[in-house]
Structures are given as C-alpha cells and as structure tokens.
C-alpha cells in the first residue's frame, strides 16, 4: 500500500520535476559550459575549455560595476528593512478590514509588472516629470533625478519593500501574545520586551527577507536599466549588453555563472543561518 502510494506520488511529481530539469538545470549547465570557451564574439563556439572569460571579468569595467551593484543591493536591503519593520509591526497588530486593505496595498504592487512600476518612477523623477514640473510651476530650478544611482535605489527599495514586509510580518504573526504578556508580567519595560522578545523572534523573517531582497536586487534588470541607464550600470546590464551588443557569449555566460554562484552562496548562507538559529531556539 505504502510502496504503491509512493510510486504514484513519484509519477505525479515527475512532470514538474522534468520542467525544472529541462528549463532550469540544463540551461544553467550549458551556461557553465559556454563560459569555458575563449571569450569574444566567435560563432560557432569552439576551443577551450579555458578560464579566459572569467579572467576577463577581472578587468575594467566589471570590478567597479560589480561593486556598484553590491552597494546598491546592500543599501536597498537596509532601506527596505528600516521602512518595512514598522510596517510589518503595524500590519501584524491590525485585524479585520484594516488588515485586508493593507494586504491589498502590499500585494498589488507585486502583481504589477516591474516595468510598469519603473515607468512610474521615470514619470516622477524625470526633468519633465512630476517632480521637475512641480518645481518649475513653483518657479524653482528644475531638478532631474532620472539616470542617477539615487533613482535606482529609490525604485529598487519600492519594488522590494513588499517582500520584506511580508517576510517580517510572517515572523511577527507567529509571536505568541502570551509571551509578550509574560515578559511584561515579569517586569520588563515595553522597550525591553521589544528588544529582548520581539526583535529576536522577527530575525528568521529578516534573514529570509534580506536574502531574497539582496539576491533580487543584484539580479534586477528593468529598474537599473530604466532609471540608472549609463549613469548607474549594474552587473546584469553588462550581461545583457555582452549578449546583445558585443555578442560575447562566453563572457556573458561567465558573468552569469559568477552571479549565480554568488546568489547561491548568499541564499545557502541564509538557510544555514536560519537553521542554526532555530536549532538554538528550540534546543534540538
């Protein structure tokens, strides 16, 4: 009974696993292979295997672009945490209609295309946009924020804020109110209760949210391309141009491999961290 049940379950799982194998595992495996060809716009790919396309990533402009990308995603993560934590607290204490409306406000942007939201920021930040025209209407000098790192940071923060709020709220929702009452009953001040009980219990949500936001903003393309342009080139923008402008597939593949490995390391580290934490909390 149990064996045949398992066999059926395996069969049911197979189509979905096949999709992951064919559309994710094979393509990513191929990228690893393409990265080992000699760099340059050569077709058909031949020669190697060698690591020259990885070595090419060590020369300009890649290191500075990688640093800017890292800086942007770290700052994004900090900003969404600072903005998101009070919101998550407020949300986890809201009930009924207020909670449903807040959830709609948080979830709706996630269902909109990132291009549409980036377009909205272009309309706001451009010299001829809402900010620029408002300044002009007030006879103040026009300021255009479009095509700056600040614009990228702002739009990245907006696009990842919902994820952080939801991740933190998921942790905060699980806090047993009795625990807070107990801390208070034992004489802890509300500040002490907050820092000694609420913040540590929100950490798993923070780790999950922060790793997602870090990896997501490292991999973002639409926001930096539309709001930063050539003024704030990011690593993924370089990959895109290597493919579509210089036709240098080996270098594009090598850069992709670097990004994938870095993202996996971040996500893996976060998973380890949360497992260690929960092991410590529950003493297993």
């Amino acid at each position: 009974m149990d064996r045949s049940r398992r066999r059926v379950a395996g069969l049911l799982l197979l189509p979905a696993l096949l999709v992951v194998a064919v559309v994710a595992a094979v393509p990513i495996g191929l990228l690893f292979r393409v990265a080992l060809y000699p760099p340059g716009p050569v077709a058909p790919l031949s020669g190697g295997p060698e690591l020259d396309s990885f070595a090419g990533l060590l020369s300009a402009p890649y290191p500075s672009v990688a640093l800017r990308t890292l800086r942007l995603s770290l700052l994004t993560t900090v900003l969404v945490t600072l903005l998101g934590f009070p919101v998550a607290l407020f949300l986890s204490r809201s009930r009924g209609l207020s909670r449903r409306i807040q959830t709609l406000l948080i979830v709706s942007p996630l269902l909109m295309s990132v291009v549409v939201r980036a377009y909205g920021w272009m309309l706001i930040l451009g010299r001829q946009g809402f900010v620029g025209e408002t300044l002009a209407a007030l006879s103040l000098p026009r300021v255009g924020l479009l095509h700056t790192e600040t614009a990228v940071l702002l739009a990245l923060t907006e696009s990842f804020l919902p994820f952080m709020i939801l991740a933190l709220a998921a942790s905060l929702d699980r806090i047993d109110p009795d625990l807070l009452a107990a801390a208070r009953g034992l004489g802890a001040s509300s500040a002490r209760t907050f820092f000694a009980v609420v913040v540590p219990l929100a950490l798993p949500g923070f780790v999950a949210g922060a790793s997602f936001v870090l990896v997501g903003s490292l991999s973002a393309y639409a926001v930096p391309a539309l709001l930063g342009g050539s003024a704030a080139r990011t690593f993924v923008m370089e990959i895109y141009e290597l493919v579509t402008i210089s036709f240098d597939w080996p270098t594009a593949a090598a850069a992709s491999v670097v990004l994938l490995l870095f993202a996996s390391a971040l996500l893996g580290g976060a998973a380890l961290l949360s497992r260690r934490r929960s092991a410590r909390t529950f003493g297993t």
Binding site: R6, A9, L12, L13, A16, L17, V19, V20, V22, V23, A24, P27, L30, L31, P44, L83, P86, V87, F90, R93, R95, R99, R100, I106, V107, P109, L111, M112, S113, V114, V115, V116, R117, A118, Y119, G120, L123, F130, E133, T134, A137, A155, E158, L161, I165, D173, R174, I175, P177, S190, V197, L226, V236, I239, Y240, V243, A252, A253, S256, A263
Partner: protein, 284 residues
C-alpha cells in the same frame, strides 16, 4: 498609544511610497497632452483610444495574454499533481522536492533567459529544430516560474483540508479517481483558483526572463513597454500600463476574496482569534 501612532505613521509613509509609481502612470495616462503638466489642465481619454494605433503594444498585449494562458494551463496540469504528491504522497524527502520546485523563483531572470536562449541555440545546432522566434522558449520559461505559484497555493489548500474525508469516500466505495475529482480537488478549489490567478499574473507581468527570448511577433507587453518608454514620451504607454495596473489590483482583490491569504492566516494565527479590543495589547 504613542507607539501605535508612530507605527501607523511609518506604515502610511511606506504605503504612500508603494502607491506613488502606479499613481504617476495613471495620472499621466489621462493627461490631455503628451507633455506632463503641473497642475493638469484637464482630463482626456484620447490615449486610450490611441492604443488602436500602436500595433506593437496591441500585439504585445495579445502575446502576453496568450502566453499567460498557455503557461497557466500547463502550470496547473503539472503543478496540481505535484502538490498532490507533496501533500498526500507520504514521500521521503518531501522538503527537498518542494525546495527544488520553488528554486526557479530565486534564479536571476535575465540569466535564466540567457540559459534558455543558449539551449535553444544548442538544440537548433544539434537537431535543426529551430525554436527561436516561436513562442516555445517563452512558454517553457514562463512555465518554470509559474509552477511554484500553483504548487505553493494548491499544497497550502490541500494541507488545510482533512484527508479523512477522502478515506471516508474510499470506504463508501468511491474509486481513487472519483475520490480525486469529487472530493480532493473540489476541496482544494480555492487554492487552485488562487494559484491559477497568481500564475497568470506572474507570467503576464514578467520582464527579465522574457527580454532575451522575445523577438518580432513574440514580443510580450512588458518588453514592448520597456522598449517604448526608453525612447518616446508617449501617454499611450501609460494608458496600456494603467490597464495592467487595473488588472493587477483586480487579481489581488480576487485572490483575497476567494482564498484570502490573509483571512486564512488570520484564522490560523493564534492572535487572529484573540483580536478583540479587550485583549491585552502586546509590547506597548
């Protein structure tokens, strides 16, 4: 109380930030002229009528609707069995399978697109089967990222229904298929509909994954919007973007109504039940 007001103020700021970009698009879509005016001199729907003269946007809209439909159908066909296997199959390594199925969500979209593009090129070289320029690579890629939404939503739904009901149906003489179609699947209806809505919306709005795979007739709406906003100041793009914003909000309301990600969380979280005003307020 002061704490609650401060939290509410912080939440209001965050929600305003989330609303800004879509609002800018909506306001620009009804502006009378191509240039943005502050204060606006009137309201006009001419850009919505003008959509008919934008073949690229219209064709993008239809491509995205078609692609979303196919991807959602395929994601349901592969994702529902997978969710059944994960919740009812008593499989060893259930968590690992789930992690594999959800992993495409954390892959950088553009990198994955490059991988699929490379695979299509390798396939064409090896067998002469050309998929470039057809919908097939896009369908495969979108299927990959929509399956997780179906699996997650249907599995959550199945987990909250009582398997004992199925045992009763079996003991009353229903065959496995009758039980599946008359008891199990109907009881997971809310999860199936919510999963289908999310899958469609995710495919419809996807940009990074589609960018390298879309060309000519297979350019999707987000890619068409991206190519247009970068070059022209044209409220027609804002008009079509507003339609997608309305669709996203509609989808968010719909999922809230049918499955209520919130309502289920409210009901299952310990604090949800105790949400009466008399309950002690935590951590103030």
């Amino acid at each position: 109380m002061a704490m609650r007001i401060a939290l509410g103020a912080a939440a209001a700021v965050a929600y305003a930030v989330l609303l800004l970009a879509p609002l800018a698009v909506i306001v620009y879509s009804v502006s009378p002229g191509a240039a943005l005016e502050i204060p606006p001199s009137g309201v006009s729907l001419r850009w919505y009528a003008g959509l008919a003269d934008q073949p690229r946007l219209i064709s993008g809209l239809f491509t995205s609707l078609l692609l979303g439909g196919i991807a959602t159908g395929a994601a349901l066909v592969t994702g529902i069995p997978a969710a059944l296997a994960l919740t009812r199959g008593s499989l060893p390594g259930r968590e690992a399978f789930l992690a594999v199925l959800l992993s495409p969500l954390s892959l950088p979209g553009l990198v994955l697109g490059l991988g699929v593009l490379t695979s299509a090129a390798v396939l064409a070289n090896a067998t002469g089967i050309r998929t470039a320029g057809t919908l097939l690579p896009l369908v495969a890629a979108h299927l990959l990222i929509t399956i997780p939404w179906v699996v997650r939503s249907v599995a959550a739904s199945l987990e909250s229904t009582d398997p004992a009901l199925e045992d009763q149906a079996r003991s009353l003489g229903a065959g496995p298929f009758a039980t599946l179609f008359l008891v199990t699947l109907p009881s997971a209806r809310a999860g199936i509909v919510a999963g289908a809505v999310s899958a469609f919306v995710i495919s419809f709005g996807n940009f990074a994954l589609s960018l390298l795979l879309a060309s000519g007739r297979t350019v999707t709406l987000p890619v068409a919007i991206y190519e247009t906003v970068d070059r022209y100041q044209d409220p027609t793009v804002a008009a079509v973007s507003t339609l997608t914003i309305a669709a996203a909000v509609g989808a968010a309301v719909l999922t809230d109504r049918i499955s209520g990600p919130l309502r289920t969380r409210d009901a299952s979280s310990r604090s949800g039940r105790q949400a009466d005003p008399a309950a002690p307020e935590p951590a103030r």
